[in-house]
Symmetry: C2
């Protein structure tokens, strides 16, 4: 979790060695050295080849140890069996980063071989990028040390990719889309350096305006979360994570050796970090390009300006899908758009300037939006008509775009139609004008920008701190471990709740009829009675539970019945007595949980409880630590959230009590290393001010002390 202070040298090396450099055109060792030279890298280049001599016109050394200078990065391209030796030599030489391009390690099951590379590097303080990467391109020093055949355009998009093949694809797409790169790094097997390290550099680097990440599995998730949160306050981060589907996750695991975590958790946590998750490459590039080239809007008011009613309706649908707010002060709209709208058009948003609109009419309407301070962003929709030649489009699109950009207002253009429009769209996209062939695409790009803006402008959410007697919980855990258990018993779980101040139903243990009657009176009727015996696991099946007991008589007969039933059901059971508990009043049943997630470490969860959680899967997740506002955001994400506000005239539930409970179990999972899972289901939530009751608590212990 420590920041890598040297990361600058990976992106701005003063010298690069290529281990396995070759004059043989077919070899990767040749591709890498040639790309470095062709790319215009100005600093020192050291080809390393046992034969020495000259490679691509540069003096080659027989060993990296022979190089008379310091080496910041060394690209290793030798066959897998020689990689460890090369790594050792580089480490001995004091190289800062070894980029292991060679594949054939953990991705084909050779985990031990990969571990050895890292070990050898760490001994000398060297770090490893890879293995199984395609190298690095970094515009800062014009270094292209990849083996791709493509020329990489410089610009302001920073790309981090787990897949080398998709890295090559992205370079191609960047070229087609005329979006240059500030850097592209593939992380491959992530044996050492991972996304966290690389994002760290890109946050601070001015050249990078947007960060685009392709990932399959998460590595050091806690650090990733922390880094992403900081990054997105400064610049947008777009993430594609494949392995969304169950089967896709399996395929991802088999091909990179990284275990893909649950996609739901990933999705929620990425949102929590303010990063934008794109489903596919096209979307990722569209968003990145739009975000890199356009100003953030000053506010939420968007207008659609269209010459076709139907297209306007589709744009409206798309706005709802992508969470864009359509401005609807109809008087104001009428005032500013009337001059541009014919009688039979509409100044309601979408503004329909009708099929008779010429380029000048668009200009008029756009100008009205441009100069009106109430309007913060515009979606221009054009249906092809005979009134639009290439020149008209130029007038309506390009000129307006420049003005909007200068004024700090984002605008997207959706051009619908045939050859003329298609050709114009392609041309203007090359000029980085945000022109789209479908309303959904244009609106999605603007929607991504709004999502980002909302996150970036949010105030820091202060981490909700909660202090409790950690030692007391640890004692309970230790005791259970000493008894050889990997979980806590029900009353131990309740004890953990009491330590943290989470209310549980009142409850007492009684060892005979008399004390049962007394306990019931102390707790207050109605009560529930349950047998207490380690030998009886399924209390209900054994007839060991009696509900809704309302007076002393019922206590007496229930006690007798339970003893009779249990003795009959489990003859040799040692029965310690019965537990008398408060009969919990009905309320809204929630589930809250906290666990050590395989990817992101300590996470919390909330959802609709009872039997619905399994079926409806109406739950949301967050990585910890987190503040009250983010917890509220998590609660609002569940579909059943309106239940908590009260339906059918019910009063609002005690949402504060729910937030407190989440904070508390979050603190337990973070502080008590012996616990891996806490689940309260149901947590019965009452009216505002009336709190909640943790009715059933299940706590699982860590396999080993974390």
């Amino acid at each position: 979790m420590v920041k890598d202070q040297n990361i600058k040298y990976l992106f701005e090396p003063r010298s690069v060695a290529v281990i396995g450099a070759s004059s043989n055109k077919g070899k990767i060792g040749n591709a890498v050295i040639s790309n470095i030279i062709k790319g215009g890298y100005k600093n020192k280049i050291f080809p390393i080849n046992p034969k020495g001599g000259e490679i691509e016109g540069i003096k080659a050394y027989k060993s990296v140890l022979d190089v008379p200078d310091e080496i910041d990065i060394a690209c290793i391209t030798v066959p897998a069996k020689f990689v460890l030796e090369s790594v050792k030599e580089c480490a001995a030489k004091g190289v800062k980063y070894a980029i292991v391009i060679t594949s054939g390690f953990s991705e084909i099951g050779k985990i031990e071989e990969e571990r050895k590379l890292v070990e050898a590097a760490r001994e000398k303080g060297m770090r490893i990028l890879g293995p199984n990467v395609f190298g690095i391109f970094t515009a800062e020093v014009s270094l292209n040390s990849t083996f791709t055949g493509s020329v990489i355009p410089s610009g302001n998009l920073g790309i981090i990719t787990q897949s080398g093949a998709l890295g090559v694809v992205m370079i191609g797409q960047a070229t087609v889309g005329n979006i240059g790169l500030s850097a592209i790094v593939s992380v491959g097997n992530k044996a050492d350096v991972d996304e966290g390290d690389l994002i760290e550099y890109m946050i601070a680097q001015d050249r990078t305006k947007v960060i685009l990440i392709y990932m399959e599995g998460v590595h050091e998730g806690e650090r990733l979360v922390e880094t992403l949160k900081r990054a997105t306050k400064i610049k947008p981060v777009v993430i594609i994570k494949s392995g969304r589907s169950t089967r896709g996750a399996m395929a991802a695991a088999s091909h990179t050796g990284s275990l893909a975590g649950s996609d739901t958790v990933f999705d929620d946590v990425i949102k929590q970090c303010g990063a934008l998750r794109a489903e596919n490459m096209t979307e990722a590039f569209e968003w990145s390009k739009f975000l890199a080239n356009n100003p953030l809007p000053a506010g939420e008011n968007t207008v659609i300006i269209t010459n076709g009613g139907g297209a306007g309706v589709m744009a409206t649908d798309a706005c709802e899908k992508y969470d864009i707010i359509l401005y609807d002060d109809s008087n104001h709209l009428k005032t500013i758009f009337s001059p541009a709208t014919p009688e039979f058009g509409s100044t309601k948003n979408p503004i329909d300037i009708t099929g008779q609109a010429k380029a000048e009419d668009y200009v008029k309407a756009f100008n009205a939006a441009l100069h009106d301070p109430e309007i913060h962003s515009v979606i221009g929709v054009f249906c092809e008509s005979s009134l639009f030649t290439h020149k008209d489009l130029d007038m309506a699109v390009e000129q307006n775009y420049r003005q909007f950009k200068a004024a700090g207002k984002p605008i997207v253009f959706c051009l619908l139609g045939g050859e003329t429009v298609d050709e114009y769209a392609r041309e203007s996209r090359r000029k980085n004008i945000p022109v789209y062939n479908d309303v959904y695409e244009g609106v999605a790009a603007l929607g991504a920008m709004y999502s980002y803006k909302r996150y970036a402008e949010e105030k820091e959410d202060e981490v909700a701190d909660f202090k409790f007697d950690v030692a007391a919980v640890d004692d309970i855990v230790d005791n259970a471990r000493q008894e050889g258990r990997s979980f806590l018993l029900s009353h131990e779980g309740q004890e953990v709740m009491r330590v943290t101040g989470i209310a549980v139903p009142k409850s007492m243990i009684a060892v005979n009829i008399e004390s049962a009657v007394k306990s019931a009176a102390a707790i207050g009727y109605p009560v529930v009675m349950k047998v207490v015996s380690k030998d009886i696991l399924h209390k209900s099946d054994a007839g060991g539970i009696a509900l809704d007991l309302v007076n002393d008589e019922e206590i007496i007969s229930a006690y007798e019945a339970i003893m009779r039933n249990c003795r009959a059901h489990v003859p040799h059971a040692v029965i310690e007595g019965v537990e008398i508990s408060e009969m919990v009043q009905p309320g809204t049943e929630m589930i809250v949980g906290a666990r050590i997630d395989g990817s992101f470490g300590p996470t919390v969860m909330v959802g609709l409880g009872g039997i619905y959680v399994e079926v409806m899967k109406d739950v949301s997740f967050r990585a910890t630590p987190l503040g009250r506002r983010e917890i509220m955001a998590m609660i609002k994400e569940i579909r059943s959230y309106p239940l908590l506000l009260g339906v059918r005239g019910e009063k609002t539930r005690d949402i504060n009590a729910l937030v407190d409970t989440i904070i508390k179990i979050g603190a337990v999972i973070r502080n008590c290393k012996g616990i891996s899972d806490i689940e309260i289901n149901p947590l019965v939530l009452y009216e505002q001010g009336m709190g909640a009751r943790a009715v059933d608590v299940r706590i699982i212990l860590s396999r080993e002390e974390r």
Copy 2:
């Protein structure tokens, strides 16, 4: 609902008149006549213009009545105020179809003016397309009677569009996409002819391979459903309906004058009809094109063949999204793909032939899939690499495509990368080879094909018939109407249930304490007591309900309390007594409903009941009539369906009883014209064989007898 026997004349007219034909280049009347001539229409053309003379070289008549021949269709382009007169003349002349291109009717609120057109036409048996349309293009007779400036390519896609502007856009997109049209018709305000009529023709016409519909509002939904169901058994239908969002629906309503129904209902019903709903134009065209040009697969086994692991994972994710089944007999896959896959690749699906794969390796792998009878469709994924030139792509893509097509196996190609790939993709798309720039697009097209195939191959679902005493229900309705009510009282609703054999809780009306005690004893404790009074609508608020009464004493005190509460709450209420009902045993609470939908007429609904229905909106809809299989499909669509199969060791619920209940209320809504809405919430569903209880039944009467 009667089929239009003349519809052939709209698509294959023997003569066309243009009312308002003009030599003036700027006028629509000129655009239409010019397009007809330029389009190569071979049959008779009659320009009509009060000035007579010649227009575009053809003799013009002063009035349509002067034309010496029969006229099949007349395009009316005169200003709105002259349209009615023209319609009347056309009708008098015996024209079969008047295509009213002129706008300015119901879409701007002139509903009465529009009604008059239809009335005038109907008197003489003429039909009207429009008003507010762009005309019709029909390849069968090479007629382009639209006013668009574009040349319309002939082919096999039939388009029906509610928006003229989007019609022009679609013509453009068809040209760019190299997909010709068999016909394109805009329906505009749908005053008379609507989608149902037009689909009817396209079903029977061989030339049309795929039907594409853009719609905003539904008109004569029952007929649309019936027609669509027949159509999709014969050819695919792709539908874009805008106004998905609440705000979009408002915008749609304002711009076409058609009331857009609930989007959820539309979505479910469209699926029921086997049509494919596309979200946007791009998707709609991609699907249509793929379906029109490619064979349906023989079975469900799909393989992904890729040279990039990450891209393979994304394709796998996309397959899950679009419901494509990946073949996974790993032994068989190994046998057939091993020869094409290097050691470090993978013969598990996705088949990863690795980044070193050349065109020949793709050919080898594709051939293995082509010749293996177990494999029914293929997704080819290419990540750009230096191994792929234009020529290589030709070998790997085009040649294979021809072979697959000839063999009746669908294949899609996803080409990811930069300039080379982009250019090749564009070229091959022009040749109608299914090449895509993103894996999600290609997989979506294949997914649409599988959706269609599954529907088309399903056996006809026999309509579930249910006979009951309709007159008995009508009597209950009539009685309520005579009392001036627009709804049934609770006991009347229960009576309707009894008539149809839907079980309700046992219940009796008691008018005093003595009879209340007797009734409770007769029904059996525990019971529920509810006030009966027309003046008290919200029984609960008035303190008019008492639950779980277990003995005579409790009956007596509850009776007194209810009377006291209700008198205090609604002082002037006439209280008829109380209803004593069986206390219903807990089970799974469902909601079932039947109503006259504004768009589709009699529809049914099922969902998770209780308070969850409002919040979770976990419901699905179907248009009636329908069979048991479709009802099961509707039930399976709700997210909470697994609850019915039993969770946590519970037994399966009585799903048959649920299906029966839906059939029964469906029959009531279809047969009892006085009823517009039936809602049973909750319908408590018990274990298999134990039936269900309709606990609360609300029935609303039609505003007027339907």
